[in-house]
Amino acid sequence: MHWIPATDSDVEKMLQVIGVNSIEDLFCDIPQDLRLKDWKLPPSLTEIEITKKFSDLSSRNSSKKICFVGGGYYDHYIPAVVDYLSQRGEFVTAYTPYQPECAQGTLQAIYEYQTAICRLTDMEVSNASLYDGGTALFEAVLMALRITGRRNITVLPGLNPLYLQMLKTHMANLDVDIVEGGDPAGCACVIAANPDFFGNVNDFTSLAEKAHQQGALFIIVVYPVSLGLLKTPGEMGADIVVAEGQSLGLPLACGGPYLGIMATKREYIRKMPGRISAMTVDNDGRRGFVLTLQAREQHIRREKAMSNICSNQALCALRALIYLSELGKSGIQQLAKYCYSKTEYMKKQLSKVKGANVVNKSYTFNEFVVRLDKPAEFVVKKMNEHDILAGIPIKSYLNALKVSSPRKDYMGVEFGEEGDLLIAVTEKRSKEEIDLFVDKLSESLKD
């Protein structure tokens, strides 16, 4: 029995005050025949036993291999201060700031996070975060449906297939048609991704205009790190921006927790789901922060609420804020430049390899597709033997997600042949690692 401090004498005194004879008497409302007799659960372990068991489990994951896998989630370096500061108990063990007077740390951090997201995306307002990129996109679509009153949405080619699948699951009952294509006529919104799943970078300014002419909203999915370099959603005229925030100081962690970023124009702030921190003053005129526009949320509006969301990823948002504060204005630009340059270097080296051709026709940021003479799944398997995680074999990956292939990008280029491999290069990959990758790839193509 861990972490229960009551002593026998405590229990005796407490039962006396309550006026019952035993703890058992407190469960009298549960009908006797429903009471659990026994269950098959193991006996308690000690901390020492726990560390042994989990060290073993941890070592069954291969975390030390050189990672060129991306697909919307990236192996970036996390500065030491991010872990150090975000692990403080006053952050970790607090809950939703329902009592703002004793949660100013949380509320100011959220306000600063919202500011960072607005500045990164060039948008006017951000919420305090949602679960992840995929659910943020779902919430953005609900927002567009509410704002326009329309019942169709259209998705540009190149959206991350994980998001597409999550969107379909979440919207199964909403009687909304999801059209893959990108023609905004009659649609609540057009959804584009920049960079897209295949790494392509585009300027969607004219598409945003076209959407607006048709009365549709323009939603863009971005990769936050790329905004150290790329044209911003605000500059393109986006109405809603969503992103997976994992790249901003969150570990890959076998799938989460991550961070759903959402930002929009000021005129839509009341249609935006989730928590929002606002600056105000206290009764002495001192600066302070509170959650605002809460009346729209589920605990008050119930079935009429904007969303059923009851939490935000506050601790993950805090990590992103610390990360962005640590990198700062110069660091985020340096990071984006390094990711881009290393990727271009990798492309250049690959161009010398027989049997490997880059498929993308557009500029890319830190990810691209190479078409190999051999099945990508085979090559990836070979490279794994050299402790290199070579990338995502697109065809079998799409198959695993139950998404049809081939898939096109915005320019009409098709991806999804047997040999197509999606490769990501972050700032963590050194020149030596990239050269090693190219060497081993050439070798496995010769096999």
């Binding site: 069954r60 076998c254 605002t292 079935e303």
Partner: protein, 485 residues
């Protein structure tokens, strides 16, 4: 306190070093015009800023936090430590979907597999999926499965979800987002579901009944078997909101009570940190009827003991990109293994003991909404102090000055001037006594010096905040100085 943006003096905290490959040029037309105005401070500035911010918060680690309905129990540090093992933090989740690389995630899949099985045993449900990322997300996954189930059986007329008026707001919101029409059922004078109203509303069109048990009045629905029979006789499924699972852990199991689908809140029942409001985790459990509809993919063990992923036959699809909030799951698994079967049973025993002790000590001063034994939390009311113009809100502020986080106030909506107190099993009798003494002192002050409560809090970093100003001005972002937006 200054914003970090107000501390910028053109300094740099971090540098990525020299670029070891040639710098590549990028076309101007695809570049952003102005750099993002992120902080320009030193690393020590960053450390001090966030350390100072943390000191403007209270958490379980610093104060008693009896926030009703939130189960703010101690978060074991061993669980945090273990979740930071490199195999867990550094592994790329897309390897799940790459056949030749999936073995690199064997440890993760084993944890997911074992924890799902353990949660099944704990809840009496047949199978569990860790995918949903929070309690409300678990509810959504649950009602989406209910919908898929009825459609699969051709019952398209089942469009209504029944929910008691005492339920958490997420229940009706989730049902609405899943496309259902919501009908509310009243509570009776004992604080439980009004069975006669329930029978009247229980038509063939009802797809699902969502219950919290014990309910948000802190009371066990003692007619649960009758409710289950009535719902099932009309072909409806029964949903268990696991928010209050801490009360019955090891005493009875939702699966044995007749529930068909449920969600867990790992951050409540299984001690994972609340993190200022997230990330939590909301696994869904299902009975026989819904197994084939679970979100996919699921981890299965092959004959050779290795793991692979499969989609259930009629899966609703992906509710999360991967297998859920993995690091939260690791913490919960550590918690469960350390408690063991017997330890888990004591959790509910001591949680219920502590809640009843607080109820017994306070009920003379704050009459309970329903005067009977409670489960893991008690719902009191400050209504009698309204004549002194003191509201539940004033008590919640004044208790902060006594060194405690406030209880939940104004919830459930069914109780006037509600004060919902959930002490949890991890608090000592001394702490509970100090809290009760402080509450009783406030009750006296409310009568003799109401102004003291009205002026509270005075010891917190800021006093009462102007929420009207916040909502009207909507200052939610510090404008960058180089922008004219």
């Amino acid at each position: 306190m200054e914003l970090i943006y107000e501390k910028c003096r053109g300094r740099k905290a971090f540098d990525f070093g020299l670029l070891d490959v040639p710098e590549a040029s990028f076309p101007e037309m695809l570049k952003r015009k102005l750099p993002p105005e992120l902080p320009e401070v030193s690393e020590l500035d960053v450390v001090r800023h966030f350390t100072h911010l943390s000191r403007r918060n209270i958490g379980i680690d610093t104060n008693f936090y009896p926030l009703g309905s939130c189960t703010m129990k101690y978060n074991p540090k061993i669980a945090d430590l273990v979740s930071n093992y490199p195999g867990f933090t550094s592994s790329h989740p897309n390897l799940y979907y790459i056949e030749s690389l999936i073995a690199n995630l064997s440890g993760a899949m084993q944890i997911v597999y074992e924890l799902e099985n353990m949660l099944s045993e704990i809840s009496g449900m047949k199978e569990v999926s860790l995918q949903p990322m929070a309690g409300a997300h678990g509810e959504l996954a649950g009602v989406l499965m209910v919908s898929a189930y009825h459609k699969h059986h051709g019952n398209f007329h089942k469009r209504i979800v029944l929910i008691p008026d005492s339920a958490h707001g997420t229940n009706p919101a989730s049902a609405a987002i899943a496309g259902f029409e919501v009908r509310e059922i009243s509570s009776n004078s004992r604080g439980t579901l009004d069975i006669s109203e329930f029978k009247r509303e229980m038509t063939e069109e009802v797809a699902c009944v969502m219950l919290t048990c014990p309910n948000t009045h802190g009371l066990f629905e003692d007619s649960i078997l009758e409710i289950a029979d009535i719902a099932h006789s009309k072909g409806a499924l029964l949903y268990y909101d696991g928010a209050n699972l801490n009360a019955i852990l090891g005493q009875c199991r939702p699966g044995d009570l007749g529930f068909d689908v449920m969600h867990f809140n790992l951050h409540k029942t299984f001690g994972t940190p609340h993190g200022m409001g997230g990330p939590g985790a909301g696994p869904v459990g299902v009975g026989e009827k819904l197994i084939k509809f679970l979100p996919g993919p699921r981890v299965v063990m092959k004959e050779d003991g290795s793991f692979s992923l499969v989609y259930p036959e009629h899966s609703i699809g992906k509710i999360a990109p991967f297998l859920g909030h993995f690091l939260v799951a690791v913490r919960a698994y550590v918690y469960i293994l350390m408690q063991g079967g017997e330890g888990l049973k004591s959790i509910s025993r001591y949680a219920v003991l502590n809640a009843n002790y607080v109820l017994a000590r306070l009920k003379e001063f704050f009459p309970p909404a329903y005067d009977r034994l409670c489960m893991h939390e008690c719902v009191l009311s400050t209504e009698k102090y309204l004549e002194h113009n003191v509201k539940a809100l004033d008590f919640s502020k004044a208790i902060l000055d006594k060194g405690f986080h406030a209880p939940t106030v104004y919830f459930p909506l069914t109780v006037k001037e509600a004060l919902m107190i959930e002490p949890t099993e991890t608090e000592t009798k001394e702490t509970l006594d100090q809290f009760c003494d402080a509450m009783i002192e406030l009750a006296n002050l409310a009568v003799h010096s109401p102004q003291t409560l009205k002026e509270a809090p005075k010891t917190t970093p800021v006093g009462r905040l102007d929420e009207v100003k916040a909502a009207k001005e909507l200052n939610v972002c510090k404008q960058a100085t180089n922008r004219d937006v």
